[in-house]
Symmetry: C2
Subunit: 329 residues, 2 copies
């Protein structure tokens, strides 16, 4: 089996989760060979923990000298743009945490660079590749709920209010929409396409980010999605996909590893199917990157540039509806 | 104890429920003394079932000759306006099923007439008077969930598609919003006031009514309500009231007699309190009418003209957003 070497930029929670799930990817022998952090000591600590030979504290050095097959960018979102640009220009394939950039302008430029350097780039929307989402798509294809009519999905996290918390800090790309809201928006666009109409309501913090965000998206004449993200209140964190003859509920936490998927036919059968896989589930996006690269692709069809551009466009629209601007925009 | 005589206009399901709950109202000995229906045989059948002495098949006759203390209007909503106008002009106090009228223009005129004839008029929003709603209001007053942030409520009913079904028939005031959506809109306005911004999405039927309706209402800078009504899909039919420190869930069916109210403090206590009362719960609005009349009022403070006008204004706005017009408008 091929050995596939990853460079990891960032050493936070999601980078750890990625490193822990990596060995579960089945299409190659994936391992981490280089780590980049602002602090060399942090990079070395992470590298040691996951048996990576190389540590870096400089982006250009990392891009020029790390011997990796692909890079996983796991830093806070305001940093993605520059990191991806530098890696792509060194022809390093990139799997970039979501949101890929903080605006459509950024994301479009990133995909332009990928094209120009003929190098792979994909948004790390790991939920896209979870078996639970595949189950739902299959049920919809089999018309298990008739015609799709609405999706109700939410994601909340009661974020700590500590000073400097990235969740509430504009300079760190804070706000509920980019951090959490991207998941329900992703799901609605995966199952319904690009929204034709976007309405939203937010609670603005004193520093000017969205502490919560309620969205009503319309998809053509007969479908809608009611979506929520929140850093300050609790939401169900389920996803309910409703059709003319039944509904599917992905239980809490719907975007990660939910205990089960509930399927209900109106006036009929009700089933609850347990969901299970090893690890947290980041291995599935890892497999996608490897499969795409092996086929010489510079983008994924399952998580395509067009999809990522639509996703950030929706979030741009919502932010603009409430004049939320980041300092680095 | 006083005897209080009711005239009932209409003999459908809700009229039956009213008649069955009437004896449960505790502030007087309430009974039905007159029934009006388009068909005399139907009126007589209903009158016999509920031991009412008088039956009518003519509105003017009913208003002029029935010996009643108040009238309950329980016909389909397009008929409310004329029936209420005639009763009020005969100085008969009126409890009128919701929606009181099909437009703000109608409802405003009805309250004008009530004022002109110094006669009581109230919208029969029975949910307003349920002990479950009182429990929630008390919890909010006691700041059980901190500052209120959002309400999520829905109401759906998989309506039969039979030919002539009033649910889908424009000439009978069909559509999900006026029939079901009025409940979640009512709840949001009861707890949050008048919406400052209204967004909505509907699925329009071939005949031009809303088969479902999704609403995102904003209330000032920091509150919103996500509401749904549907005749064609299933929704949770719960009401979740969410604040900065916890949430309250009125279980399904939240607008009637729910099994329980769930209260949850973030990172803390979770309680489930059973809800129970005799009958369906229409007796509580009956008590309100009697109490108001005994005090010489021509309107209720708990379900005021202003509240009813705001309610229908919101629904007018939503209908106009989608150019839904009824043939009799």
């Amino acid at each position: 089996m091929d050995e596939f070497l990853w460079g990891v930029i960032g050493t936070g929670n999601i980078a750890e989760a990625f490193a822990e799930d990596l060995h579960l990817a089945k299409n190659a022998k994936h391992r981490i060979s280089a780590v980049l952090s602002r602090e060399m000591s942090t990079a070395r600590e992470f590298a040691e923990k996951f048996k990576a030979p190389d540590s870096f504290d400089d982006l250009e050095q990392f891009a020029a000298h790390s011997q990796v097959n692909a890079v996983y960018i796991a830093t806070p979102h305001p940093m993605h743009f520059e990191e991806a640009q530098v890696c792509l220009k060194h022809k390093l394939p990139v799997l970039c945490e979501k949101p890929m950039g903080i605006s459509k302008r950024q994301v479009a430029e990133m995909f332009e660079t990928a094209k120009q350097y003929n190098t792979f780039l994909m948004e790390a929307m790991w939920t896209r590749f979870l078996p639970s989402i595949g189950m739902v798509q299959e049920m919809l294809q089999n018309e298990a709920i008739g015609e799709l009519r609405h999706i109700n999905a939410s994601l909340s996290f009661l974020a700590p209010r500590e000073e400097g918390s990235r969740y509430f800090e504009p300079s760190l790309g804070g706000g509920s929409l980019l951090d959490l809201g991207i998941y329900p928006v992703f799901l609605s666009q995966l199952l319904m396409g690009k929204p034709t109409n976007i309405h939203s309501s937010i609670k603005r913090s004193e520093k000017g980010i969205d502490e919560n965000c309620a969205m009503l998206l319309q998809f053509g004449a007969d479908k809608y999605a009611m979506l929520e993200s929140s850093l300050i209140t609790q939401t169900p964190n389920t996803a309910t996909i409703t059709g003319t003859s039944g509904q599917i509920i992905i239980t809490n936490p719907w975007n990660e590893k939910p205990p089960s998927i509930v399927y209900e036919k109106y006036h009929g059968v009700k089933c609850e199917e347990p969901v299970q896989w090893e690890g947290r589930g980041l291995q599935f996006e890892v497999e996608e990157v490897y499969d795409c690269l092996r086929q010489g692709k510079i983008s994924s069809e399952k998580m395509s540039p067009e999809f990522s551009l639509n996703l950030i466009e929706t979030m741009d629209t919502i932010r603009h509806q409430h004049s939320i601007r980041y300092p680095f925009e």
